[in-house]
Symmetry: C2
Subunit: 246 residues, 2 copies
């Protein structure tokens, strides 16, 4: 058995999310189905760095799997891409030690959230960036990002459905970039709770519109109550950009 690490890009538009669920087209199902074809019908389970929701995209999702097949990395990539649908691409495959785990070995993850700010949404990006044509104060957003940065209990910024116990996470980078008519929020951290990036994005939009003061985020964090934070921003602006490992 050899353990393999694969870096995967997918367009989330036509998926019911990453994780297998009965009767739904999911990323995990498509990859496992392609692996099963390569293993003459034997099922091969993959483990990802984490799930992504319906509509959320990935540029650098990471999964691992074990296989008895004697195949080199480049052939894994070519063979899987030949079997996978066009909205999933394997960008890289490498052999890893048997104790590597796509989820438990994560050092940091980086997410990007794209907003297109023109008055009319660009048809070509309607599934790839959230349309937000209202004026935004960039300095207020940056101030709010600085408050999120560091180690905090993010209970207020996670879905009430989140099941993990420990909600303390560390954000090491949070920045605003502009590219053409787009604003991009880039955030990196050692872990993210369910919906955390989208709730932070919604709260940053509140700060950018002056609906809250950046400083209000301190009390939201302290309250540990989802209802104090902003709305969950739509999924189609969100990208799992990169996962790094120890």
């Amino acid at each position: 058995m050899q353990r393999w690490k694969a870096t995967v890009s997918y367009d989330g538009t036509q998926f019911a999310g990453y994780q297998v669920q009965p009767g739904a087209r999911t990323v995990q199902r498509e990859i496992e189905r392609s692996l099963a074809k390569m293993h003459k019908g034997t099922s091969v389970r993959i483990s990802a760095s984490g799930r992504t929701d319906a509509g959320v995209h990935a540029i650098g999702q990471v999964v691992h799997f074990d296989s008895p097949l004697a195949i080199v990395a480049e052939r894994w990539q070519r063979a899987l891409n030949a079997l996978l649908p066009a909205d999933i691409r394997i960008m890289d495959v490498e052999a890893v030690a048997s104790d590597f785990h796509a989820r438990y070995s994560v050092e940091e993850k980086e997410y990007h959230y794209r907003l297109m700010t023109g008055s009319e949404p660009d048809v070509f990006r309607r599934n790839y960036a959230t349309h937000f044509p209202h004026p935004l104060n960039h300095a207020a957003i940056q101030e709010a990002m600085a408050i999120f940065t560091g180690t905090h209990d993010f209970t207020s910024f996670s879905s009430a459905r989140s099941e993990v116990e420990d909600k303390v996470r560390t954000i090491s980078m949070f920045k605003l970039e502009t590219a053409g008519d787009e604003l991009i929020f880039k955030v990196r951290g050692n872990g993210f709770l369910y919906n955390m990036v989208r709730i932070m994005a919604g709260t940053l939009l509140d700060a950018g519109q002056g609906r809250i003061q950046p400083d209000d985020i301190r009390s939201m964090l302290a309250e540990k109550d989802r209802s104090t934070a902003g709305k969950t921003a739509p999924p189609h602006g969100l990208y799992l950009y990169r996962v790094t490992y120890k």
Copy 2:
């Protein structure tokens, strides 16, 4: 009655092309359906600068229509966009004289053809640029573009199904641009025959790979025979970029 000129952008991916055809989702059908709603069910016919095929995109398609409604340009745009599906957007509406015709008044049209050149196709652009990972000689492509430029009989570069009699057209601009990992062919002219841009794009790719010499295009033009030219490049790399009027 007032005649209106509308500039329309659409993502061609989920359309069977521009023109109405029975049982098919087309751009014309969607726009006429939205106009009929605004006219309490009365059908309103639109005329476009020309058709686009299934999968072909538009950034600046132009249509015109006549209406008895007393509505200002900005309201037309807002009302139509509220009724149209998300893959069609009205970018501009203006009142025009009653002798304006979206097709017959055209001065020039500009098309862009996008190629993504990375080894793996980017999942997010799979419907928006043609994947072409093979090496291309840019100088040869530019030489070929220069030969296409000017006034020629383009019979060899139009679908055998083309029904127009006069196949002489003038190309006023043909250039190659690069943007990130993309190559973009930009062509402007006083008119284009059926499939002409896609056949020229396919022939430019032949020149770029050294399968033909740029000079061979002179004899292809002289032959007036579709079988002498290159393949028709796929539709999803093609954009109707702009239409200008006298």
